[in-house]
């Protein structure tokens, strides 16, 4: 898969993954606070943030595997930096990445409109929830609560991963740092009045 990638793209993907791994770790603490306040559903409120790198990497690089790889690497880095959830977290990352990747795959990695990005965020919500259901024992909770958790996570995935990821990628493209990537070229072509400087 990576043979077709330029080294530039691979390194940018890795750097994004590393940066967001740190962001993810910070949000884990924040999640713990919400968890203490609202119980398990507290995590679901901000769960979307943990899928954001998939959306950003896919939106910027636009190649098969970007969403999956970035999320997987971010999880691996979280483990290496020292998150006690450990190697299992890499599996969680892969599963979250698969959710987003599946949505991009369904559009043959050709469509990066807002609704696709939102759907990709929700895709991660779905796969991560199924995984969490088995690994964290959500089955022990009452069905109504689990259903509420699922919908909260779905919305969180749409907003915090899909929309926030889109917005952040576009803000980045406006700085000109992404000019050699499709997203930067698109912005240049589409809206020349924005005054982008290389």
């Amino acid at each position: 898969m990576l043979e077709k990638w330029k080294l530039r793209e691979v390194i940018v993907l890795s750097v994004l993954a590393v940066v967001f791994a740190v962001v993810y770790l910070v949000f884990l603490q924040f999640g713990n606070v919400l968890y203490g306040m609202f119980g398990l559903i507290g995590y679901d409120l901000i769960f979307g943030i943990w899928f954001i790198v998939s959306i950003i990497a896919a939106y910027i690089i636009r190649k098969p595997g970007a969403a999956f790889l970035s999320e997987t690497i971010a999880a691996a880095i979280e483990v290496m930096v020292g998150n006690a959830v450990g190697p299992r977290l890499i599996l969680s990352g892969m599963i979250q990445g698969i959710g987003a990747e599946a949505v991009f795959a369904a559009t043959k990695w050709n469509n990066y409109r807002p609704w696709v990005l939102i759907a990709a965020g929700m895709g991660s919500s779905v796969t991560s929830f199924i995984w969490g259901y088995f690994i964290s024992g959500y089955a022990a909770l009452s069905p109504g609560y689990v259903t509420a958790m699922f919908f909260v996570r779905l919305i969180s995935g749409a907003l915090l991963a899909g929309l926030l990821g889109k917005w952040l990628s576009e803000s980045l493209a406006k700085t000109g740092a992404l000019n050699s990537f499709p997203i930067g070229k698109e912005l240049k072509r589409g809206k020349p009045e924005n005054g982008i400087t290389a």
Binding site: L16, M80, G86, R88, A140, L168, S180
Partner: protein, 259 residues
Amino acid sequence: MFLHEFNPSVKAFTVIVCVLILSVFFDPVTPFLTLVMTAAATFIFGRVSFKRWILLFSPFIFMAAIYIWSALIFSKTIEGETILWSWGIFTLTEEGFLRALSLGMRVLSFTSLSLLFILTTKPTEFLLSLMQQCRLSPKLAYGIMAGYRFLPLMKEEFEIIRSAHRIRGVPKARKLSEKMAELKRYAVPLLAGAIRKAERTAMAMESKGFTGDKNRDFHHKISVSWKDWACFTFFIGAVLGSAYISWLFGFLQLYNGEL
């Protein structure tokens, strides 16, 4: 054999298999016994100090406590369970209590296995091992190593941006909208800088002859021997042994839909 010499890829595989086995069962005893054995192995064969271990472990005790609390309060009550305590809408049954305890112990046992891996593995060796044993693409592996080295640089850049904002008299964010704007003011330049640096790094690597070819040589060779698989067998045996003991005492339950 010490855990530092345990091949990192095989070690990671061992931990993942142990976790998968543990998640099949649902009782408090199996994860508890695994937890004790894993912690003992970390101290004896990993030469990790208790202080360092407990520092990383303690947040998870807190988490497990919340887990138990959450499972107690929000758990469903099934007809015909022994009621221990009841107050208003909250009912505590013996079965519910065991379930909550199982959940908590499960989290802690996963944590101890993970700590065993983290505290005895160097990130670089893990990546080298992944390249040499699991055929991870060198492009990706060296990309990750480069990205990893960016972290301290980004911290430095963050300080610079903060000082720059302060010198120019940017007021402190108070309202939520101001906080969002502040977040953007930091995140966008930091990320843009990182991406620019990444492109330069890629160019530098290519100009030094890095092709990303999988058939490359390594200065630091990491091998797998029978000892690694012996270690693997030992850990899997320990987890299965815990399950067996739990079964002897009549606690063992398979994890299935009814929970």
